[in-house]
Amino acid sequence: MDSGGSCRNGGGHLKELPLLSFVVRRLLGSLPLLVGVPTLVFLALSLAPGDVASVYLRPGIPPETVVQIRQNLGLDEPLHVRYVRWLSSLARGDLGYSVAHGVSVRRLLATALPNTLLLGSLSLGLSFALGILTGIFQALRPHTVLDSFLSGVSLFFYSVPPFWLGTMLVLMFGVWLGSSAEGLWTLPVSGMFSVGHEFLGPWEKAFDRLRHLVLPTLTLTAVLTGGVARFVRAAMLEVLGEDYILAARARGLSETRVVLKHAFRNALIPLITLGGLSLPLLLSGTVVVEFIFAWPGIGRLMVTSVAARDIPVVLAGTVLMAFLVVAGNLLADLLYGLADPRIRHGRPQA
């Protein structure tokens, strides 16, 4: 709830600014973050032991060949030269080349990003929807057996490591509940589509993709929903105890109207903050799930790239994540205005 309060203050300060100006200033203010974070990552990876040329190391390789490979990859240049070169390439929209994957970084991201966004946004959307419903449901029946039960379930899924849950789902749906790919209870446990999907019709393709989404989405959603539900429950309980809720009920408003229009709307501010902060999870939160379910997304790409010291890929991914952090916060700020009429960025003042 603190975050909500501070946001209100921030919103008050921002009342003076027209919306566009506000957005532009926020983006400009984020530039240090967008450049600073990748710079730190660049330094950390460059100073860490090992580099991507180790991909080529094997017995029998002549020392002069190792030197030539490093030269061909530009790894023989001083750190600051490589950094400036990366920055200038980035400014031109050139993200560089991935030695570990043998393709351009742009191509890698273009392939992986939509996959992660699909999985991440679906899971995030579902977990917020389910979490909000569960949280409201619990807040309306506080301290009942059902509330305790749902709290226990939420806490369980919030505490469960995604790798364990994912592996259990793989075993359950991949092995125990079905021994063939066509079994009723059998869901795909890896990849984004079936073998031969390109020979399917459009609807069959969509259904095939949906089936592949079930288990990874379930894993991510289960883990995220618990947190959202507990957050909403706490916020709603606090709001439901306020005087204006009592006044609304005294005026004879329906319970649905009291809950949704008066209570939930006021509980929404901290939830928006949570939503904004969760946006980077679209990329970072899927790492383990992508690994377990062989989902070819950004998270997996980042892990393999860090291990291989494939700096251009890691940097591009970091820039993306930093951008999502900025975008998430900006979006939250803008949504505050929608949720709370007292906060309107850029609204002409009377």
Partner: protein
């Protein structure tokens, strides 16, 4: 189906073009394949017939492969796809590891004076690149010239170390005849077994220093092998389809229509897919999983000797490990058969040298050279001055320094188990083995950098068919990346200088045996074992040969049981 190419964007891969390319490389290359395939398929009828769904075979592995660019991708999966799937080599090995013709119809050698030999290859005239261009001697010469050009940075340049490099070493006599000149040495055909031929007409204009990073290998490979490239989704899958124009004499069009290489990094998920039948071949199955698969009627686990070698490298630059008695004692203290049993279910061979069982110089009689013998290990340590002086179970030298060695390794399940067993067994003879787990890149840096930031390291190799251990044990290589142990011994040097040049295998076996005995005596490393490879195969597949040559060696002849063609 033969008309569909490209998939994930061969079109539009513009940013990787070396300077001077007017037309986007991959657009052009794949358009040529499409044009050729389209024309010819109409004429001959390729792919599955009658509109039936294509017969697809899926091979699942945990690791992505590097691609079809010989000059840039050298991982095990990539090399096998270059040799057996998408490209062709001049020769290949038969099941007895003897060279047999492949792209080359035949070859001959002759002495040309000045201590040199000439090797002349006569190429097949019926092999075409997948875009329709004939494969010729000019492609072979191009591959050789680039491989031996230092600017290329070809990681396997040592394959051709006895060949005269550059123009001096090769001449094209006509479009189907090419000859090479080299210093006489053993296994002189092996480089042509291991190096697939690259398309000159596509890559000639690429500067050598840009070849390794060229998009050809991962975005638009145009090969000449039994399967042609369809699409590649990084970290997910490679899709290939049967090449209908593969020479009949070499098996003709493969019986399976499509072949998919799938990357499933989590072994539990990979096993689940294999058990469900959505993966037909599971490459490199861990022993524990193999036990789960065995006994199932429709699955089998194929176990075969592999070229992997696992050993502990002792850093002999350190005073404690400079004494060969100490190193021998360490080896004697390790119950390697038990180790192999515990970690690999006994599926492998205990080694006393780096010669794996698949190599012609492997000598089984050396297996008992340093048997498990804790009393002798204790005696050796005592003779070297290491005695437990304070009764804490760990030996000390006269200065009171404990006999403690740090074992560096990067974590995977096998290494972790091996490290823990070694720690327990060495403890029995009063040696404290401390375990130091590192992330892979940092581990590699620690053991290969000139600083040699390790005392002992657990190292796994996949050896080549042509074995050459100079960079491991030659004194001149002690400062090079793979000179882990830093051993310097004139006797070893002499063997290492001589062995690669020996042409006669009988003489070679004798020298290899003497060399291995010297290694056993010096113990710069403690060889542990060569684990067999385990691959899972579904009963849906027939005629699958899996042996030490690799998983894909006869993929062109794999068949699917007619009743079990996969429906999409």
């Amino acid at each position: 189906m033969g008309l569909w190419v490209g998939g994930w964007g061969c079109r539009g891969e513009r940013e990787q073009l070396p300077a001077g390319y007017g037309v986007p490389f991959c657009d052009s290359a794949m358009a040529r394949v499409a044009a050729f395939t389209g024309e010819r398929v109409q004429g001959r009828g390729g792919g599955s017939e009658g509109g039936a769904p294509p017969t697809t075979v899926v091979v699942g592995t945990v690791a992505e492969m590097g691609g079809m660019n010989v000059f840039g991708a050298g991982d095990v999966g990539a090399v096998q796809h270059q040799m057996f799937v998408n490209l062709m080599t001049l020769v290949r090995y038969d099941e007895n590891l003897r060279p047999v013709p492949y792209l080359a119809r035949r070859w001959e050698t002759r002495e040309i004076g000045e201590g040199r030999m000439e090797l002349r290859f006569f190429l097949r005239d019926d092999v075409r690149w997948h875009d329709g261009t004939p494969t010729t001697a000019y492609d072979v010469a191009f591959t050789f010239l680039r491989a031996t050009d230092p600017r290329t940075g070809f990681p396997n340049a040592s394959f051709f170390q006895f060949y005269l490099p550059g123009e001096e070493g090769v001449s094209v006599e006509d479009s189907l005849t090419v000859s090479f000149r080299f210093r006489p040495h053993g296994d002189y055909l092996d480089p042509w077994r291991a190096t697939a031929i690259m398309p000159r007409h596509l890559l000639e204009g690429v500067p050598p220093e840009a070849l390794a990073r060229h998009p050809y290998g991962t975005v638009c490979p145009v090969g000449n092998g039994p399967f042609r490239f369809v699409s590649h989704s990084p970290n997910d899958r490679w899709v290939f389809e049967a090449n209908p124009f593969f020479p009949e004499e070499l098996g003709g069009r493969p019986p399976i229509d499509r072949y998919i290489y799938r990357v499933i990094p989590d072994q539990a998920a990979l096993l689940a897919e294999f058990l469900r039948g959505t993966v037909d071949v599971y490459v490199a199955m861990p022993w524990g999983q193999a036990e789960q698969v065995r006994g199932r009627p429709d699955r089998r686990v194929v176990v075969f000797p592999h070229r992997s070698v696992l050993f502990v490298a002792w850093n002999t630059r350190l005073p404690t490990l400079a004494d060969r008695r100490v190193r021998r004692a360490f080896t004697l203290a390790v119950n390697r058969p038990l180790l192999l049993q515990g970690v690999q279910g006994g599926e492998g061979v205990v080694l006393n040298s780096g010669v794996p069982p698949s190599h012609w110089a492997f000598d089984p009689s050396l297996g008992d050279s340093l048997p498990y013998d804790p009393p002798q290990a204790r005696a050796l340590l005592e003779s070297a001055g290491w005695v437990d002086r304070n009764g804490d179970g760990v030996r000390e030298n006269q200065a009171g320094e404990p006999l403690a060695v740090e074992l560096t390794y990067h974590r995977n399940q096998e290494r972790q188990e091996v490290a823990e067993i070694l720690q327990a067994q060495l403890r029995e003879v009063g040696v404290e083995l401390r375990l130091r787990i590192m992330e892979f890149a940092a581990y590699l840096q620690a053991i290969t950098s000139p600083e040699r930031d390790f005392q002992a390291a657990l190292v796994a190799f996949e050896t080549e068919f042509r074995l050459d251990e100079r960079d491991l044990f030659h004194s001149s290589a002690a400062r090079e990346p793979f000179g882990f142990s830093g051993i310097s011994d004139p006797v070893l040097d002499r063997y290492l200088d001589t062995l690669p040049l020996v042409e006669d295998r009988q003489e070679g076996r004798r020298l290899w045996r003497e060399y291995q005995l010297r290694i056993i005596e010096l113990q710069p490393v403690t060889y542990l074992y060569s684990a067999f490879r385990r691959d899972g195969v579904t009963s849906r597949l027939e005629n699958v040969v899996l042996d030490t040559r690799g998983e894909w060696v006869n993929i062109g002849q794999w068949r699917v049981v007619p009743q079990r063609r996969r429906s999409p």
